[in-house]
Symmetry: C2
Subunit: 283 residues, 2 copies
Amino acid sequence: MEVAETVSSVRGLVEAARRQGKTIGLVPTMGALHIGHVSLIEAAVQQTDFVVVSIFVNPTQFCPGEDLAKYPRPFDADCEICRKAGADVVFAPTADQMYPAENLTWVTVEKLTEPLCGQFRPGHFRGVTTVCAKLFNIVGPDVAFFGQKDAQQAIVIKRMVADLNMPLEIVICPTVREPDGLAVSSRNQYLNPEQRKDATYVYKSLQKCQEMIDAGVTDTQKILTEMRRVLQQVPSIEIEYVSIVDVGTLQDIDKIAGKILAAVAVNIGPARLIDNILVDSNR
Amino acid sequence: MEVAETVSSVRGLVEAARRQGKTIGLVPTMGALHIGHVSLIEAAVQQTDFVVVSIFVNPTQFCPGEDLAKYPRPFDADCEICRKAGADVVFAPTADQMYPAENLTWVTVEKLTEPLCGQFRPGHFRGVTTVCAKLFNIVGPDVAFFGQKDAQQAIVIKRMVADLNMPLEIVICPTVREPDGLAVSSRNQYLNPEQRKDATYVYKSLQKCQEMIDAGVTDTQKILTEMRRVLQQVPSIEIEYVSIVDVGTLQDIDKIAGKILAAVAVNIGPARLIDNILVDSNR
């Protein structure tokens, strides 16, 4: 496995693979890799011939007051995880390499970035779409892999790719969970043991949603009330949002119908945690 | 020469050329081709192996009240011009092909799009950068060719390509002029014979700027006053702006120094005309 730190070096490695007729997979990450990332890398290894994992803590997607400075950066361990998972290249650029001049150019997706996390993280999605556009242009993958855990991000990036005719496919991989249901996240390590236990209630609230839809409840407000009740059992949980939205538009819905996304964001101590489930109410 | 009307058909043609080891050139146009466009196509033929000319009157770069509906669309004549100039493909998509769904994704360049034409055409550059990003992603050229006549557009697109790491080179070709100095433009055909004569004063005002800089004048205000005086000789000319700016930032400058851009925009009857010159005051 190679480690590339510059745009030109990763391009050289990808070009060499292309000349051998290989297809290229990209797994964009901010490092602090966990089994969720491993599942993305393994999917990439399975579906493409040459896998690049980018590790870049992108400053433009952090809002003022967020955890940019303290975001974990265990680079050597990350490389070892990539190697074991079968990656061919780790692309780990510096911020100067990614943003050598003042960045004047932004890729923005309207509407889909406004609800859910968009309400609470101004500029976040603009940072994500811009850095993903850059990574796609640098690496030139046939397929890029993202996790369903960041549901809104996945939907926004798919829309960007479609709207701008970017020549790649986006594959969304299922959320990976701890045995007790907590979605794995680099930010889980901010939790102390007590908070870690409390965090399981995030997924419990989503399971409550699934149960109620399975039981035929269609009144969204009723479901949201019960989901909030689950979370409110735990004093350390500060709810940011609990939402049930149309999976195409991400707009709130009154009645459960078709494919819906139930999404939760909470703060527990120092960690902002998000989770979601997709439910096809027709099945 | 082939005419492709869909994204997939132009991609197929480009892929076949790539497999033969050919480099790809793109000349993005809105049709109504003239000798300025021909010079771009000829540059592309000289510098790349397989030349795509796109012809698309892009609705998102026209502002409300502008000439979208009446913009000339002489498609058959355009194709003949492309063929004679040596193009391999004309890519002429419909608006539905380019914007099949509501477009939610925009590429914007800050700062550089604010002065000059940006002040008078809100949303124009956002439309240009977005459609160029789409065309670059659809065609995948090694080199794309633009004219110096649209100086701000050229600078904005170069910045977009650099900021987003788009894997292509932008080549800017010199402004082509009629024998009397008028920059060739698809919009010149809106002029009646009287207006056509009046239009020569646009370039005369720029020549006045060049002369004054050559004579050692460094006070920008003095030069701008003289440039305006040239234009004000002609009653049909309605000045939009007369500016002397730094070629890197496009910001107004007080003293002539280094490389400057002198740019003029006027309305003459039904036509909005722009022109500019680059002057290296160090030479």
